[in-house]
């Protein structure tokens, strides 16, 4: 083989090597691009998850969970608890089809949640057909008491509208009892290793639930405790109810039914 043939062979070899290397590089680049895309997509999903979480717990809590895991996270706070329950729901559930019942229940939860969030409340949990909402739990709120009672009145109004819709569909109307209480407690992540939720623990929530139980007894759909009444706008129309002993509280509770709200008379502009 003469020298020119050897040179051509070497050049061809080098060219082939360059082509192979080029293909390898292109393959690596594509691979890296795909990996980057997957990483971006995963990060995006994580960020979406974080945004979604922010509707269920304060940002501070979410960041601590992300940084340190869901350990023992809690802080002392003053909160107003609103506990709402459907009256006669068990009887209703026996009278209508399960799928209709679920639709009715979801429609009810949607409307009540809207009324609560419009007044800066946060729905902590649904317990069967009950709702626990908190005011002042996610961000400090010096007006939490007024907000909570306005939310209760908005729930009453929203339910009246919903009942008219149900009546048109031939479904029996719903009625609710709402108990409200204000006090100190611990806000934090509560639950088992496998399932945790951001909620508020303490006497305030228990009292709100007990007060809700009394709505039927006192023939009033919205009842507030004296501790909450003290902080309320005097324009709420309140009616004193007989002092009532409730389970878990030593002294009888002074309670008030909420009849409505009188809009403010204003000074001339």
């Amino acid at each position: 083989m003469d020298s020119s043939a050897i040179r051509i062979a070497i050049e061809l070899g080098i060219a082939a090597l360059a082509v192979v290397l080029g293909l390898l590089l292109r393959h690596r680049r594509r691979e890296a691009g795909r990996l980057r895309q997957r990483l971006e997509s995963a990060t995006g999903k994580l960020q979406n998850l974080q945004l979604a979480f922010s509707r269920f717990a304060p940002d501070e809590i979410i960041e601590r969970v992300i940084a340190d895991g869901p350990g023992e996270i809690g802080e002392k706070k003053e909160v107003t608890a609103l506990f709402a329950d459907l009256m006669g729901f068990t009887a209703l559930s026996e009278r209508i089809e399960p799928n209709v019942l679920i639709r009715v229940l979801n429609g009810y939860f949607d409307r009540m949640s809207e009324a609560i969030s419009q007044h800066r409340g946060y729905v902590s949990t649904f317990i069967g057909d009950g709702i626990l909402a908190l005011f002042g739990a996610l961000t400090p709120n010096p007006w939490q008491g007024d907000d909570a009672v306005h939310a209760a009145l908005a729930m009453r109004e929203a339910l009246a509208v919903y009942n008219r819709e149900l009546a048109e569909r031939g479904i029996p109307e719903l009625s609710i009892g709402i108990g409200l209480s204000r006090g100190m407690g611990i806000a934090g992540l509560v639950g088992s290793q496998n399932l945790k939720e951001f909620t508020f623990v303490g006497g305030t929530v228990n009292i709100a639930a007990r007060v809700q139980d009394l709505t039927r007894q006192h023939d009033a759909d919205i009842i507030v405790t004296a501790a909450l009444k003290e902080t309320l706008d005097p324009r709420f129309a309140l009616r004193a109810l007989p002092d009532t002993q409730v389970k878990g509280v030593a002294e009888p509770l002074s309670l008030y039914a909420v009849d409505g709200f009188a809009d403010v008379a204003v000074a001339g502009d």
Binding site: P140, P142, D146
Partner: protein, 362 residues
Amino acid sequence: MSLMREIPWESCLLEPRRDPKLERRFRRATGRPIGPIIYYSGTSWLDDTTLLFNIDVSKQVSIDSELVGLIAMIVSQDNSCRFCFAETRALLRILGMPERRIAQLEHDLLSEEFDDRERAALEFSRRFSRSNPPPDKRDFDALRTAGYDELQIIEIASIASILVFFNRVTTIFALPPYAFEKLPDRWYVRLFRPLIAYAVSRTGNTAQIDPLRPNERKGIFSEIVLGLDGLPFARSLRKTLDGMWASNVLTRRAKALVMAVVARALGCALAGKEANELLLAEGLRSDEIEEVLTHLASPALTAREQQIVAFARETVWYEPARIQQLGRHAMQGLSREEFVELVAVASIANMTCRLGILAGAA
């Protein structure tokens, strides 16, 4: 694509108004086009404030401009301000920050991309902006441990407070962020990026320590302003507060009510005490003030004041789409000038009260 682009955003509440004189003034002072001010210009003190705060953000005494950009991004992200976020993101990209580093900041503040010093400043800024709970002595100590001196700490807080102001103004007015969101990817920006970066950086990024003059040490909320003494921003805030107070678009009583409500929401005793004194001077009795601040209503208030008070509380913590809807609702009873001033005063109140909490904590 940034997930910030997915935040629901209403259509802009205001129509842009061209003002060639203001545009020239802005370009001369900042080296940049006028930007968002064309939507809300016309209120003399607010035009001045926008200009002054833009200069304060671009020229620092003791911290570097990259840290300022990072603070602007983190605070804007925390306030879900699509407009300011997109603007800062575009500026950082044009100035040459790699996309990877920006994406890292968007996705994870605690990422290893940031050293301890940067991370401490960013965490502090976010805590300052969020104020839930407000920063306390431990937050200052964390910055000191990270190596920042007192002037640098005040300057970090100042930058975060300016963003607290701009985030509210641009979010409540729902200024359109779309142009900024697409800007860094435009072919001409990519092509001329080094030239644009050079032009922007030519405006300089250093300022000198400049103590307040004796006549600037007085005025409303002077204790809070004095806490910033030494920074050019202290003078800007002094001028802003004086201009806002002197303006006769909204009454002084309405402006003091906004300050008092925001101070009560944030728990700022310093600003709350002074707002209370301003309200007394404007003719409200102590019991009436207490009634307003306890229930956000009183027969002593006019219907317009009632509306203003209700709106002011919403500006402390908010979701963009909801505050924009509330803004649109608040506009109905007010003229354009009154609405613009209301949003501006509420934004200044949020900034001043957060600085007031800091002054107390320091």
